[in-house]
Symmetry: none
Subunit: 420 residues, 2 copies
């Protein structure tokens, strides 16, 4: 099965956005053994969209088009597909009903232009959107099949997962490429590569790739076999060895974010959490509460951005602030204890540091102290992140969630900047 991806949107050609949809779709198709042989991108121009699609259906079995399905005048992918298929556009009543209901539910007036999205090429199948209003379209043109998906990444991804991947996977049959992602926090990518490289040296199946970013390293192990199960079986022993070698630095093998991992641990152990944040400004609380059901274990947090707030709301002593400053081990410990106390939680975690761009009280951007307080422990550790505001904040979040994870699994709690 030969596949081709066509991105529609003048913003791609002006360089205002990168075609990350093409990358994401390519990954998903590779996983199920579908060969992507070409990408194309064209602007919001009828003639060129039609030409791109004609070419694509003439040489590919499956064409995935993204973009141009919205309600406005520059959304013309529907018309172009109808022209390529040689059929008229017809109004789909069930889509009209769905769009009308959506606006009614939000108690908003529905502009007539929204019904543009209910026009589908005659004979097309549709993919219902989980969110958004634009349905996806599946149109057969000769021997080729066009899947038209929204350009908004989250809507496109849901339709790929709900419909396109299962449908193509069933047709391609048992052939599988499996991947497993082992996620690690607190260890440098190059260090991890050194630890693991002999495992993969000279091996073309499974292969390994290291992806560093966002304050963590993902070790991706990929294997090919005649079925997904067999590919998974090739991965199993290698992944086990990777986990053994990296030890406590491994946060999980299910490609889960740290907030999901600690959420499950808190729930399993029946413990509750409170946060005291300074430089991260609520970023840790936001991640913890992004997990559905987090109200079962999350009590709340205090974003104590000023010295006064640290003292008044978290009970950090004036003496500590005067003696050690707000970016200090003592302050982090007291903030954690204070957050736990005022919010009535089992565990308190706190962060204080300098995000930058300017130094604070003579401390350079990048230094962060993280405190953890519970019945049996009052601990703090520091990290030193690269001096970029967004990176400092992200690394601080990661280190705080990881300190909590280590406490919950009974691992050694690090004191200094390095975990291993």
């Amino acid at each position: 099965m030969r596949a081709e991806i066509v991105g529609v949107g003048t913003e791609l050609l002006l360089g205002q956005i990168s075609d990350t949809n093409a990358q994401w779709i390519s990954q998903r198709l590779a996983e199920i053994g579908v060969d992507v042989l070409r990408h194309q991108a064209v602007g919001d121009n009828h003639e060129r969209i039609v030409a791109a699609l004609r070419l694509a259906v003439s040489r590919s079995d499956v064409v995935i088009v993204t973009g141009g399905l919205g309600p406005t005048q520059d959304d013309i992918t529907r018309e172009a597909i109808a022209a390529v298929a040689g059929v008229p556009l017809v109004r789909d009543r069930s889509i009209v009903a769905a769009i009308t209901q959506r606006f009614a539910r939000m108690r908003r007036e529905m502009p007539e232009s929204n019904l543009r999205q209910a026009a589908v090429p005659q004979g097309a199948r549709t993919i219902a959107p989980r969110r958004g209003t634009a349905p996806g379209l599946i149109v057969q043109v000769g021997d080729a099949r066009i899947y038209a998906l929204p350009g908004v990444p989250i809507e496109m991804r849901e339709m790929m997962q709900d419909r396109v991947v299962p449908e193509l996977s069933a047709e391609v049959g048992p052939s599988g490429i499996a991947s497993r992602i082992v996620r690690c926090v607190g260890v440098a990518e190059s260090k991890i590569a050194e630890e693991l490289d002999d495992l993969f040296h000279g091996s073309s199946n499974p292969t390994v790739a290291y992806l560093a970013g966002g304050g963590e390293v993902k070790v991706r192990i990929t294997a090919k076999a005649s079925s997904l199960t067999e590919a998974e079986q090739l991965i199993d022993p290698v992944a086990d060895e990777v986990v053994r070698r990296l030890g406590d630095a491994v946060t999980g093998t299910q490609d889960e974010d740290l907030e999901v991992v600690v959420g499950r641990l808190l729930r399993e152990r029946g413990r509750t959490l409170a946060l005291g944040e300074s430089l991260t400004g609520g970023g840790v609380a936001f991640r913890v509460t992004s997990v559905p059901g987090s109200s079962a274990y999350f009590r709340g947090g205090v974003v104590a951005y000023t010295g006064d707030a640290k003292r008044d709301l978290l009970g950090v002593s004036a003496q500590t602030i005067a003696r050690d400053g707000v970016v200090s081990e003592a302050c982090a410990r007291e903030m954690a204890a204070g957050a736990r106390r005022v919010l009535g939680a089992d565990i308190g975690v706190a962060l204080t540091g300098v995000a930058g761009p300017e130094p604070e009280d003579g401390i350079e951007p990048g230094l962060v102290w993280i405190g953890l307080d519970a019945d049996d422990v009052n601990h703090a550790r520091s990290i030193t992140a690269p001096p970029d505001r967004a990176i400092v904040r992200r690394w601080a979040e990661q280190a705080a969630l990881d300190l909590l994870r280590r406490y919950l699994i009974g691992a050694r709690l690090p004191a200094g900047p390095s975990l291993v």
Copy 2:
């Protein structure tokens, strides 16, 4: 001048990397007034590279190819270009000398394979690399010209800046494409399009595009002229009219995030802010503090995720919680007042609502109340967002920051779900 960009590399088709080169090149060409009409990507396959280039030279004046110029066996762009141009590859002595010298300078043995990079299509001009060993190539094919550049972004960018941009810019003459982005909150994309469409109907210069997502709509106005300044001048009156028609819904014309806009307003007016967040879990505070220097106006926040925290930390009355529930107008007003009081700020903003996925106290996901408290006002408004946890939270953040913005500029404060 019509341009087309062709990316070569199987890693693009496997989704292992995103084609950021295409985006960057597109931006540079737009700046000098060269229209990019298409992108293509193909793998390291001779036949398909040749086909992609044949197609490109048949329909474009300028073709920029990236990737496949390195020393290894899978670097076959040189051969493909020679085939398309119908000329043999010949060894370029000056490149042989440059590569040989480079290895000698590093005192490293030169693998013979490096000399593959000295093979150029007969008659080609070359672009000397500032770093790396692969030269760029300029090959005329009929009326079209192919520029072949390395796939490594930094090497590609240097050759674009050193040679391609100056050469094309001189040919195109004085010309420029400018864009302006007007950002709006609280109005549906389709409603905005209805308000504005007559402004752009039948106009091909400037043009308009609407990009909805993340709880806002971006209206992008693009114009072409014989210089960047003239293009800006074409945009000015249209942008002014767009802003006039959309009124208070416009958050800015500088493509700034709302947290940057409200940060500047707070600073200019010398006011300080405190937040009380429930369903957004610190998301608003995180955004406010993502702006460097926000400590000048941000006092802090309380993430009051439970009813107890709303009562104990923000002083919401037990009676309000019992009578109206925590997702109510009264609770939002009291949370805003409480946040302002406990953090000693001029303005308090608070959010309470149901993010989902499950209903809470019989209230469906999507309902959010936002409160604002200051010396002269205690106000609340509600919104109803699509019932998806991430979207509810994002829309709530946007509505809260926008309510603050409206208060700071003295605009009407909306009460209900709709802003216009």
